[in-house]
Symmetry: C2
Subunit: 225 residues, 2 copies
């Protein structure tokens, strides 16, 4: 069987943290395909509290969850991510030296170099066994990633799981000190992106570029010609 | 000699990360006093690129540095931080079992339970030896905090330095994977605040409150009565 599609990175979960991962990876020309069980981007933010204000997003004294999602979608738009909505990931199978084959419950198959588990559990619970079902199986245990109290264990340098090439960011991941805040998910996405960037494109020199000063990054964002 | 003032936490540096630390600590009724060598809040953001856009603040496709500072000031305003501008910290001296005595080059003395080194180096370089002077002394080495390549080593669970009770967040701190991004500083501030909160107020139960759902936090923010 051959894959329907290829991607540099498959992100499981299209909530705010998954979306921001697209931005961070996009800065380094790394293309993402997001899969979510919902029928639209936004994850829990859009599903459970779209019209509720959030007060602890840095720089926003108050922002409605849906507005945050809309702004994140605008922020990632230069990087044109692919989306597969209404699908759960049912299998992540290593391909020797080539990454992973990701399969959804609707039969979509994507070959990818890296997998990022982003956000909550929605995207990876089989549709007939929703979260809250005490007998729920754990798909990630089949993929071989180590868990702690039902969350995916990640390191704090690269946010990589126990399985090299699979990363975990946002509410799904766990490490000492972890707090389930959006702002932590954004940081986790940024450090994951640096790690993936180094794996894909070993840097000639270790210069960190900044969006506020790098014309190279600003061209990618379309804010300068 | 007695201290002029007392504070729960002295934050050295009133840039965006120091300001956001006020917010995170304020949620738990922890009061902050910020010291900065500049004459206004904002740190490097306000000093060097106030009118420049930043593109990688999550949820802001573009924001001017000064606008970000203004919004952070609005976000922390419910917590009424104290500010000491135009002052460098010249000494941080442990007080047995009581925290630290912080002294500035103008002779201000503040006793505090915890110290947070936030942001860049401006606030702690003696005025007559600015950063870039190759013969510059390192004030933090006198305070006993471990350094790596000139940055303050912090753990990734509490962002505490080698000296218990002194924390480091933002551009001044270093740990494996560290990238000098504002969004990482915000995460570091949040986890530091959780650590300080636990040290000051051992929780009866380990329930994490969220600004979007907790009426207790919303009352502190003044968004509900």
């Amino acid at each position: 069987m051959s894959a329907d599609e290829k991607a540099d990175v498959v992100i499981i979960g299209a909530g705010p943290v998954g979306l921001f991962a697209v931005f961070q990876l996009g800065l380094y020309d790394i293309h993402c395909h997001l899969i979510d069980s919902l029928d639209r981007p936004g994850g829990q933010c859009a599903e459970f509290y779209a019209d509720k204000p959030i007060y602890d997003v840095p720089g926003y004294p108050s922002i409605l969850a849906q507005e945050l999602i809309d702004r994140l979608l605008e922020q990632v738009s230069p990087f044109k991510p692919q989306f597969s909505f209404g699908q759960q990931v049912v299998d992540v199978e290593p391909i020797a030296d080539q990454g992973f084959r990701v399969s959804t419950h609707k039969g979509q198959v994507i070959d990818t170099k890296f997998v990022v588990i982003a956000g909550g559990w929605g995207p990876i619970w089989p549709q007939d066994q929703p979260p809250g079902d005490s007998a729920k199986p754990d798909p990630t245990s089949d993929w071989g990633v180590a868990l702690h109290d039902g969350s995916v264990v990640a390191d704090t340098e690269k946010f990589e799981t126990s399985l090299p090439g699979i990363f975990a960011i946002g509410d799904a991941c766990m490490y000492p000190g972890k707090v389930r805040l959006l702002l932590s998910g954004f940081h986790e996405a940024a450090l994951m992106a640096q790690a993936v960037r180094r794996l894909l494109q070993p840097p000639k020199r270790e210069t960190q570029l900044y969006t506020s000063s790098s014309s190279k990054l600003q061209k990618k964002l379309g804010v300068i010609e």
